[in-house]
């Protein structure tokens, strides 16, 4: 079976572009704190979601709605409403992380397919099977801490479908288990759906040297003519033990296109592309390339070569945890 390409859409225009470019499945979220890409000007209101789902279905594509932040105490109704509205809009599944929200959805939306978000950081077959037995989860998005052989071992021990990230931004920390951003800025992925928010970024020019700060902490400092990556906290330049450098991760992004055949052999069902904040032209380009790759694989042809490098904004690429030496 052809591996499923799961593509992000931050806007209705990006959704349509991704569907036309050949995405099998689109994931998106409502324009509020219920999803983990809660950025200004992004995401869908209820009408846009309904229309987006209709458009996708008319073209044979599916839509998954990410409701993958952790509901705030006292305000769970906002998240419950998001699940109900996703179902009413015709979504093919919801992507959830919070056990309370999974429990609520399993009990009150029996017909709505449930996927486990990467934010749940379910990193072994035992806990994945537990989510399946307890909440009827049909698919898990694997955390970015596993090597390809470990993914194969998980698939050998579970009937739950697995979906893995293959392209885009790369979390270095286990997702859903990181509060670096709220420590420095007060806003976190788990509670607010944001990480290293632009509202807390400050650039300053110091005699030809560009400083990038987040929440008052200098994340990196580069020469005026050097590339200045966005100051994402875990990819900053810091000092420890007498050394200075990118102690957690280099300013790299994930590209696992060459690993697609191994991931297929490992039993992976779906390949996920990161980037709901990306433009529709970027999304369409990435989808076309990955669709060509899985179609080539299915036809027994070699993968098209190196098509994605120029989309990585001049950043270096990594295959992340899929290779064991990354650890």
């Amino acid at each position: 079976m052809v591996m499923e390409i799961v593509c992000p859409a931050g806007t209705p225009a990006a959704l349509r572009a991704a569907v036309k470019a050949g995405a099998h499945t689109i994931y998106c979220g409502f324009a509020d704190e219920t999803n983990a890409r809660n950025f200004p000007g992004l995401n869908f209101d209820r009408n846009e979601m309904r229309e987006g789902v209709s458009f996708a279905h008319a073209h044979g594509a599916k839509v998954l709605v990410a409701i993958n932040t952790f509901p705030r105490a006292g305000d769970e109704a906002i998240w419950h409403r998001a699940v109900a509205d996703a179902e009413a809009c015709g979504a093919d599944a919801v992507i959830l992380a919070d056990p309370g929200l999974l429990d609520h959805t399993a009990q009150t939306h029996l017909g709505l397919r449930r996927h486990l978000s990467v934010q749940a950081a379910a990193a072994n077959a035992d806990v994945i099977n537990f989510y399946a037995e307890t909440f009827g989860v049909k698919r898990v998005v694997l955390p970015r801490v596993l090597s390809v052989p470990e993914i194969a071992a998980i698939n050998a021990e579970t009937d739950v479908e697995t979906e893995v990230f293959v392209f885009g931004g790369l979390c270095v920390m286990a997702e859903g288990r990181c509060s670096l951003s709220s420590y420095a800025t007060g806003l976190s992925p788990n509670m607010n759906g944001v990480c290293s928010p632009a509202s807390h970024v400050e650039y300053s020019d110091d005699h030809g040297v560009l400083n990038a700060q987040l929440g008052g902490y200098t994340i990196h400092r580069v020469g005026k003519n050097d590339p200045a990556p966005y100051p994402t906290l875990c990819k900053g330049c810091f000092g420890a033990g007498g050394k200075t450098g990118h102690l957690f991760e280099d300013p790299v992004s994930l590209n696992a296109e060459h690993l697609i055949p191994q991931l297929q052999k490992a039993g992976v069902t779906a390949l996920k592309i990161e980037g709901r904040q990306r433009s529709r032209s970027y999304v369409a380009q990435v989808v076309r390339n990955f669709r060509a790759a899985v179609d080539a694989l299915e036809a027994g042809k070699p993968l098209p070569e190196g098509m994605l490098a120029r989309l990585s904004e001049g950043q270096a690429m990594t295959t992340g945890a899929y290779k064991k030496t990354w650890r």
């Binding site: 952790f70 509901p71 705030r72 105490a73 006292g74 769970e76 919070d98 056990p99 309370g100 429990d103 609520h104 950081a121 990193a123 072994n124 035992d126 806990v127 099977n129 537990f130 955390p143 970015r144 801490v145 596993l146 071992a153 270095v172 920390m173 286990a174 288990r177 990181c178 509060s179 670096l180 709220s182 420590y183 420095a184 800025t185 007060g186 788990n190 509670m191 929440g215 902490y217 200098t218 994340i219 990196h220 400092r221 875990c234 900053g236 330049c237 810091f238 000092g239 420890a240 033990g241 050394k243 200075t244 102690l247 957690f248 991760e249 945890a321 064991k324 030496t325 990354w326 650890r327």
Partner: protein, 270 residues
């Protein structure tokens, strides 16, 4: 007292033989004892370790849901600060499975803590918050101590062994920021709720988690005991804590401030 290995399964062989004696000593002294699960379970031997926790005969503190299916049906357990309990729904679900005590995620603001303490009181769950110590900010598949020494996690040669309190991580401006602890990232500041003790008590919190540090931890525990007994007020407690190590920077921003690193009593910050 919570014993056991939370961060890295490779550390456990160094002291696992001491755990049964430690449990016996603490139980004999009338203390409540729990054994923690690992925070991130990926390897087969880590799954086995997690499954075997119950065999030690004391309560298990789950710090990853992986531990949950291994617990015998009907057993009481506690929930550690690395499990995401952010709301009433999750709290009630855990309680229905046997949780009787929950240490909330350190990043939760006081308003949410109060909501959950109220909900917990109705269903018989004790609510605990991160009381003192470097904050557990992140956990990863990658070992940063090993990376610093140009090694991989699987060949780490125990690069972290000389940094029992974590290794300071500073910005390029030499501003203290974080600390690396193998696969874990900690805050530079030590969280300290002494100043907020009245607000926390009023919110319905009934326990404080004190995270161990190599310097003056016994004194620190005594100070918090005196604070809870009303023998010291918040300001006196903070002053005494600062005397243990005058280089320690404190924070209580997750509970009260605009961001986690903030400290409600600016005098003691950098």
């Amino acid at each position: 007292m919570v014993l056991g290995e939370l961060i890295c399964s490779k550390r456990l062989p160094f002291y696992q033989d001491c755990i049964p004696d430690a449990i016996a000593t603490l139980l004999a002294a009338g203390k409540n004892v729990a054994l923690t699960s690992l925070a991130l379970v990926t390897l087969k031997r880590e799954r086995k370790l997690t499954a075997e926790l119950v065999e030690m005969g004391v309560e298990v503190e789950i710090n990853d849901l992986t531990a949950l299916p291994y617990l015998p049906k009907g057993s009481r357990f506690s929930v550690g600060p690395l499990v995401n309990v952010y709301n009433e729904g999750t709290l009630a679900w855990l309680a229905s499975r046997g949780a009787h005590r929950v240490c909330l995620p350190p990043e939760m603001p006081l308003k949410s803590v109060e909501t959950l303490a109220t909900a917990g009181a109705k269903i018989g769950v004790t609510i605990e918050v991160w009381g003192h110590g470097r904050l557990p900010l992140a956990i990863s598949g990658r070992c940063y101590h090993a990376r610093l020494h140009d090694r991989t996690k699987d060949n780490c040669q125990f690069a972290c062994e000389h940094d029992p309190d974590g290794l300071d991580v500073r910005t390029v401006d030499d501003q203290p920021f974080m600390a690396m602890n193998g696969v874990q990232t900690l805050s530079d500041t030590h969280a300290c709720v002494a100043h907020q003790i009245d607000a926390i008590t009023k919110a319905g919190v009934s326990a404080l988690r004190l995270s161990p540090q190599s310097k003056g931890f016994v004194i620190l525990c005594e100070l918090y005991r005196q604070l809870l007994d009303g023998k010291l007020d918040g300001a006196q407690t903070v002053d005494a804590i600062c005397r243990i190590d005058c280089d320690t920077r404190l924070s209580d921003g997750f509970l009260m401030g605009a961001r986690g690193a903030d400290w409600s009593r600016a005098r003691a910050t950098t």
